[in-house]
Structures are given as structure tokens and as C-alpha cells.
């Protein structure tokens, strides 16, 4: 029952986050409910009420451009209106570059004979989708172990048994989220404003040690049972280069708080996935007849190479 309650709490928090994020994407005009990309070359504008057909179907009432290039207008070849007259679809001559936010201007919107003024609308990709793509990207597509080759020492060290692999993965995820968020905060509000970014290596490694120590102390006091299970891995966490690589990447790419959270979570979960996959194979390997010179690390490396090759298949994939 207690676990169930916790689950609901987590779900509620997630829901609140989702609502907050969706709420942040509203267009700026009161008569326009939603704007979105559709297919490769269409933009859909959803109005709050029915609009006049003659107005809506007139192409010259709309102008569209990419946000960084306001002087270069995109060519609109057709406008169609849905049956209830609430949804206008703009069709463009060329494919749209969906990575750029677009600006659509609808002049003198006319609804049931009344003029409702001009609306300047931002059309963006769904922000939540973007966050999700960062998470999946760090977890699978750019998996830190198999495509960036980081954290290998610990990876080969603890991937012998499934139980240790999972324990290490979970501990690592917790610590990396905590330390990456701390590093992000310090970098954004202390190092960067005061032009101290050359100190980033020292500061980040210090924060990592600090968060390892903090998790150690808290876990020991709050849940000794959990500490008994996961305490051993805490020492190893600090020897993992991923934990220092993630803050460096965050600092390089200037991510905001949500994006940083997603990247660090993805890095941790990706490490967990890699450990789990590897340990499953290595458990099976104990039953196999490996040539004596390959026993131990060499065969593990060859295996990791096979995993890396298969992860190469995800390379460049884009979600949303």
C-alpha cells in the first residue's frame, strides 16, 4: 500500500510537470487556440471559433517565415479550412525546417463578420517532445558507454553479475542526477556570470565528490537497508568518467534546467541499460568454452564491440 501511494505521488508530480510544460506553449492571440506543424510542409492553425471562409481561404492574409529569417517569406500555395471552419491548414511550396521555430502572421482575422485584429503566431515543435528526445537520445541513441566510450572502467568492473549491475546502475543514476543538477546551477549562476568557466573541471569534480558523500550520509541515516544494498557502489561512482562528462556537456551546450535534468537522467538510465545488457551476456558466457587467452577482459571487450556495433544502428535517429 505504501509503495502504491508513492507511485501515485510520483505520477502526480509528473502530471503537474506535464501540465506546466503544455501550458507554456500557448500562442499569443486570444482567438487562436493552437498552432502546430503537420506532415512535411503544412502548418495548422486552430481558432477558438468559426472564421469567415472568404477571409480564411485568401492566401494573402497570411505570411510565414522562419524566426531567424523574418525577411525571407515562405511561399504558401494553398489554404484549406476544415468543415467546422475552426481549423485552417497552410500548405507550403517547400518542406519546412521543423527544427527552427516559425512565425506566422494572420492579418485582420475575421469571424462572423467581426474583425479580430492581427495575430502573430509562433509555431514550434512540441517542447515536451523535445525534452523526451533528449532523454531517449542520451539513453539509447547516444548511449554514453556504447557510442561515446565513457565510464568503461566501472562498466567492465561491475558487469559480471546481473544483481550488481542493476544495483550499480540505480545508484549511479541517483548520484548523476543530483550532481549534474548541482553543477548546472553553479555553472549557470556562478561560473558563467563571473567568467570563471576555466575553473569548471575543479568545481565539477568537487561537486561530484560532495554529492557522493551526501548521498552516502543521507542513505545511511534514512534507510540503512538500502544503504547495505547500494553503499558499496557509491565509492565506484566517482571513478566513472560519465559523471564528470555530463556536467561538461551541459556547460558546453547551455541547456536549461529541464533539459539538463533529462540529459543526466538519460545518461544514468543509459548506463543502467548498458550494464544490464552486458551482465546478462557475461552470465551466459560463464557456461561457454572461451579460449584461455581470451578469458576475462579480452572477450568482454569483443562483446562490448558487438554491442557498440548494434548501437551504431541507432545513430542519427531522431524522434519527434
Amino acid at each position: 500500500m505504501k509503495i502504491l501511494g508513492r507511485k501515485y505521488l510520483l505520477l502526480n508530480i509528473l502530471l503537474i510537470i506535464c501540465l506546466f510544460l503544455i501550458g507554456g506553449c500557448k500562442p499569443e492571440h486570444r482567438f487562436v487556440k493552437k498552432t502546430a506543424f503537420k506532415d512535411t510542409n503544412k502548418i495548422v492553425i486552430e481558432f477558438a471559433g468559426p472564421v469567415d471562409e472568404t477571409w480564411a481561404k485568401n492566401r494573402s492574409n497570411y505570411t510565414a517565415c522562419e524566426k531567424p529569417d523574418p525577411d525571407i517569406r515562405l511561399k504558401i500555395i494553398d489554404v484549406s479550412l476544415s468543415a467546422d471552419k475552426k481549423k485552417a491548414t497552410l500548405v507550403f511550396a517547400d518542406d519546412l525546417n521543423k527544427n527552427q521555430p516559425h512565425v506566422v502572421t494572420a492579418t485582420k482575422i475575421s469571424s462572423e463578420g467581426k474583425s479580430l485584429g492581427t495575430a502573430i503566431l509562433n509555431v514550434k515543435k512540441f517542447y515536451l517532445g523535445y525534452l523526451f528526445s533528449i532523454l531517449i537520445g542520451a539513453m539509447i541513441i547516444n548511449n554514453f558507454v556504447f557510442t561515446k566510450y565513457l565510464g568503461l572502467c566501472v562498466f567492465f568492473g561491475v558487469s559480471q553479475k546481473k544483481s550488481t549491475a542493476v544495483g550499480m546502475g540505480i545508484t549511479f543514476t541517483l548520484v548523476i542526477v543530483a550532481s549534474a543538477m548541482m553543477s548546472w546551477f553553479i555553472y549557470q549562476f556562478v561560473l558563467q556570470p563571473y567568467r570563471l568557466d576555466f575553473l569548471q573541471i575543479v568545481v565539477f569534480i568537487g561537486l561530484v565528490s560532495l554529492s557522493v558523500q551526501a548521498v552516502d550520509t543521507i542513505l545511511r541515516k534514512v534507510n540503512p537497508l538500502l544503504f547495505k544494498a547500494f553503499g558499496v557502489y557509491l565509492v565506484l561512482v566517482i571513478a566513472n568518467c560519465i559523471i564528470i562528462a555530463v556536467p561538461l556537456i551541459l556547460a558546453d551546450n547551455e541547456y536549461n534546467a529541464w533539459e539538463s535534468l533529462m540529459l543526466s537522467l538519460g545518461a544514468g538510465l543509459g548506463f543502467l541499460i548498458a550494464l544490464f545488457l552486458m551482465s546478462s551476456v557475461r552470465e551466459r558466457l560463464e557456461l561457454a568454452n572461451v579460449p584461455p587467452t581470451y578469458r576475462g577482459l579480452p572477450i568482454a571487450f569483443v562483446l562490448a564491440g558487438l554491442f557498440a556495433l548494434s548501437f551504431l544502428g541507432f545513430s542519427g535517429m531522431s524522434i519527434f
Binding site: P68, P70, T118, L199, S315
Partner: protein, 304 residues
């Protein structure tokens, strides 16, 4: 208690020493870093124009940089070009504001010296001094105009577009009729052995000498790169097997209007570069024509 004090003092002292060391190294290297970056970009630009160490640039070659800003005043958006002007009248730089339909709006002289103009923060404060507060502005891009004697030799366009994995940073040189003179990949993080091959001569030299008409509708073909063409593309730099003069001309005219041959195993990277280059030239040609007509109508004494 005594121990705690000893530990604290020890740590503080070592932190101070470390900070002092890092700080001094930072101060020394920061200048050198900026200088080296500048030299590298300069060398890449001259290289694109065909000037190398063995064939240095003539003394009357001048490179002028213009910067484009987007100015927002409530809902109205205009373009601001920061242009170098001929010394004598005001010297230095002027900000020319053009509306989205290419009509002249306003012009201001800026209080900035040519030495400081490469610093983004210096430019921003110079523009802030002439634009009144409700107006905001964001930096958009820059273009370098190469001038030899009295005539424009080429435009150098730095650009950035998404590749297969992350962004590809390029520098493109085109002549006044928008024919490509050369393409240089400045930075990329494609897969080594696959997409990273865009950096090879036999790929990026394919763009050379493509005319504006061709580039407007250029595409990528998946046919294998013909052996003779590959040889031609790689001899451009004058190493390995030099081809006889007659052969060079026939190959050039044969492949001049062909599409770009994609790299084996990296079609998407090839496509990304091709589309990126195409869009850069299209947008630039559109803008420079409008800007030039404003310059000639308003008699702005631009340096280039």
C-alpha cells in the same frame, strides 16, 4: 579541535595556490587562444580564395565584415546591417535599417573602432547607444566581403546547419555572380569513417565552380563517384598525380553541371551539406541584392 583547524588551513592554502596557478595560466593563454582562433579563421578564408603560403595574397586585398541584426520594435521587425564605411566621412561603421520588404528605414553612425568590432559585446553596446529602449535586437549572422583593388572579389559566408548527428560548421566562398569558389568544413562531429568524410577533398571540392543557376536546384545522387572525377577533385591542391591540362578542362566541363555525388554510407550527411549550402546561397543572394539596391539609392559610402 586543533586538528580541524590544521585541516581547514591546509585545504584553504592549497586551494588558494591552485586557484592562483589556474588563474595565471588562464590569463596568459586566453589572449593566445583568441589570437590563434583569429589567425585560423583568417587562414581558412584566404585558403578558400586560393591564397596559400606559397601563393600569398596581394597587398591590396581587403576583407570587410558586415553584421546582420534582427531588430524588434513590438510586433514590427526590421533588419539592421552593420556596414563598414569609407574613412573620411565618419569612418568606422554605420547601422543601416531595412524593413522586411527591402525598403530603407533609417541609418545611424556607430561609435566603434575597427579593432573592437570583432567583439560581440562591443558591437552590442555600440548598437544599444543608437537604438532607443523599446527596440530590442539580436545578432543574426555575418558576411565577409573580399575586395581586390576596386572590385569585389568574393563573399565569404560562415554558416551552420544540422548534419546527421550534430551541427556542421562551414565557410563558403562565392564570387559576385554567386558561383561557388570553395567550401571549407570548419567543425563537424559526424561518424569517423562515414559522415566525417565530408571533410575530404573529393567531397567538398565537388561544390567548386557550381553556378548559381545549378546550385538553386542541386541535388544529391547516389551513383558512385567516377574515378577520373575523383582524381580531378583531389589534384586540385596540386599534390600527387598532376593531370595534363587538356584532361583537366574536359573533366571540368563534363562534371560542372552534375549533381553532388553522395559519400558511400553517408547519404544523409552529404544531403545535409548540399541542402545547407543551397539554402545559404539562396538566402544570401536574396539579401545582398536588396541591400545593394538600398546602398546605391541612399548613397551609403560603404567600404566594400
Amino acid at each position: 579541535m586543533k586538528e580541524i583547524i590544521r585541516i581547514t588551513v591546509g585545504l584553504t592554502v592549497s586551494c588558494l595556490i591552485a586557484a592562483l596557478l589556474m588563474g595565471s595560466v588562464f590569463i596568459v593563454t586566453d589572449k593566445a587562444k583568441k589570437h590563434n582562433e583569429h589567425v585560423n579563421i583568417q587562414r581558412a578564408m584566404l585558403g578558400l580564395l586560393g591564397y596559400t603560403r606559397g601563393h600569398p595574397a596581394p597587398p591590396d586585398l581587403r576583407l570587410y565584415t558586415m553584421y546582420r541584426y534582427i531588430i524588434e520594435d513590438g510586433a514590427i521587425r526590421t533588419l539592421g546591417y552593420m556596414l563598414p564605411v569609407v574613412k573620411g566621412e565618419h569612418g568606422g561603421y554605420q547601422l543601416v535599417v531595412i524593413d522586411l520588404d527591402g525598403q530603407f528605414v533609417n541609418r545611424f553612425k556607430l561609435n566603434i573602432t575597427p579593432e573592437k568590432v570583432s567583439e560581440a559585446s562591443e558591437r552590442a553596446s555600440a548598437i544599444k547607444a543608437v537604438l532607443k529602449p523599446p527596440k530590442t535586437f539580436v545578432y543574426s549572422d555575418s558576411t565577409i566581403v573580399a575586395k581586390l583593388g576596386q572590385k569585389r572579389l568574393a563573399y565569404l559566408l560562415p554558416g551552420k546547419f544540422p548534419g546527421f548527428k550534430t551541427f556542421i560548421d562551414v565557410m563558403l566562398a562565392i564570387d559576385p555572380s554567386f558561383k561557388i569558389i570553395g567550401l571549407e568544413i570548419m567543425e563537424q562531429e559526424e561518424d569517423p569513417g562515414l559522415g566525417a568524410e565530408i571533410n575530404q577533398d573529393y567531397f567538398k571540392n565537388q561544390f567548386k565552380e557550381k553556378s548559381f543557376e545549378k546550385i538553386k536546384k542541386i541535388n544529391v545522387t547516389k551513383e558512385p563517384l567516377p574515378e577520373e572525377y575523383k582524381k580531378y577533385l583531389e589534384t586540385k591542391k596540386g599534390r600527387d598525380f598532376p593531370l595534363p591540362k587538356g584532361v583537366v578542362d574536359t573533366i571540368r566541363s563534363k562534371y560542372q553541371d552534375k549533381d553532388i555525388y553522395a559519400l558511400t554510407g553517408a547519404t544523409i550527411s552529404s544531403q545535409a551539406v548540399t541542402n545547407g549550402v543551397k539554402n545559404m546561397i539562396r538566402k544570401f543572394a536574396y539579401r545582398i541584392n536588396r541591400l545593394d539596391s538600398v546602398i546605391s539609392r541612399q548613397h551609403i559610402p560603404v567600404a566594400f
